[in-house]
Symmetry: C2
Subunit: 143 residues, 2 copies
DNA sequence: CGTTACGTTTACGTAAACGTCAAGCAACGG
DNA sequence: CCGTTGCTTGACGTTTACGTAAACGTAACG
């Protein structure tokens, strides 16, 4: 078993990064190892290897977190990949930077539209709920 | 062709509801007729029929709008159907009403979580964008 | 009267995102 | 040494949400 964490002051290794196994992260985030391997196949993750075994760093963990957040927003894995790529994109030339700014704005537009949709939906849930409570009080009275 | 709208003061029909063809609505919302028929097959829409031809009412149109909003939020058609069902649910008995209130709260939790995710993502896009503009000004200076 | 436009059903195809085996290697406990 | 546990790579199955094509009806247009 991999001795993990709880090693504070020793270790010859210069970087004291925590390392995780695939099942550790899977359990932590409530997903399957199959899903994680799939994300890797899609280029969303690229953990180190010890032999054939995957070793996830803290950075990998953050990326996974971002993937799952993207999923909650209903983004496809491809869209998530595009965002992740922007995170650690090489400087690049002016044209590419300008293109990237456009894509960023597109993403922002989608998210803001989505926030509006959420607010609308929440407002309608309020209406339904109050109607529901109304009926409930009426029904409860006749029991 | 169906003479639509623009008939204000006549018509023996008591309800002056507008009626739409499938292609009208499809064009209006930028989707395909195939999609609309699919939504119907999944129980999300149930337009009237004139012979075999579908006739959509204003109410059908609203439902379609809600379906598309749900889609933008990343909901599955099944989830959307559940929400729509709550819209026009029969009063029902107390137990069912209480169950419905729970489902409503679940939905609210998801949406609020989603809004938090959006705010986080927007904040990160800001960071990326400003870095992007930084580099761009640097690069632009050396041209 | 042919074709163009719009409507229908039925049915097979497809992309995305995994689920679910199967078969195999590696270490560790008893 | 043998079995359990945890990791690996295929590879095929499944669900969702349509796309796409075939084959047909019908109403208007020139």
């Amino acid at each position: 078993m991999l001795h993990n964490a709880a090693n504070s002051a020793n270790d010859a290794d210069s970087t004291d990064e925590e390392r995780f196994t695939i099942t550790q992260l899977a359990r932590e985030f409530g997903i399957t190892t199959r899903a994680m391997r799939f994300y890797e196949a899609q280029g969303l993750l690229s953990p180190a290897r010890s032999g054939t075994t995957r070793i996830y760093s803290a950075r990998d963990r953050v990326r996974l977190k971002l993937v799952l957040r993207g999923k909650r927003l209903g983004l496809t894995l491809k869209e998530i990949a595009n965002i992740l790529d922007m995170y650690d994109a090489e400087p690049g030339e002016a044209g590419q930077l300008r293109y990237m700014l456009e894509r960023l704005q597109d993403q922002r537009d989608v998210l803001e539209k989505q926030r509006d949709d959420i607010d609308l939906t929440l407002a309608e849930l309020d209406v339904i709920e109050s109607q529901c409570r109304q009926r409930l009080s009426t029904v409860a009275a006749s029991e």
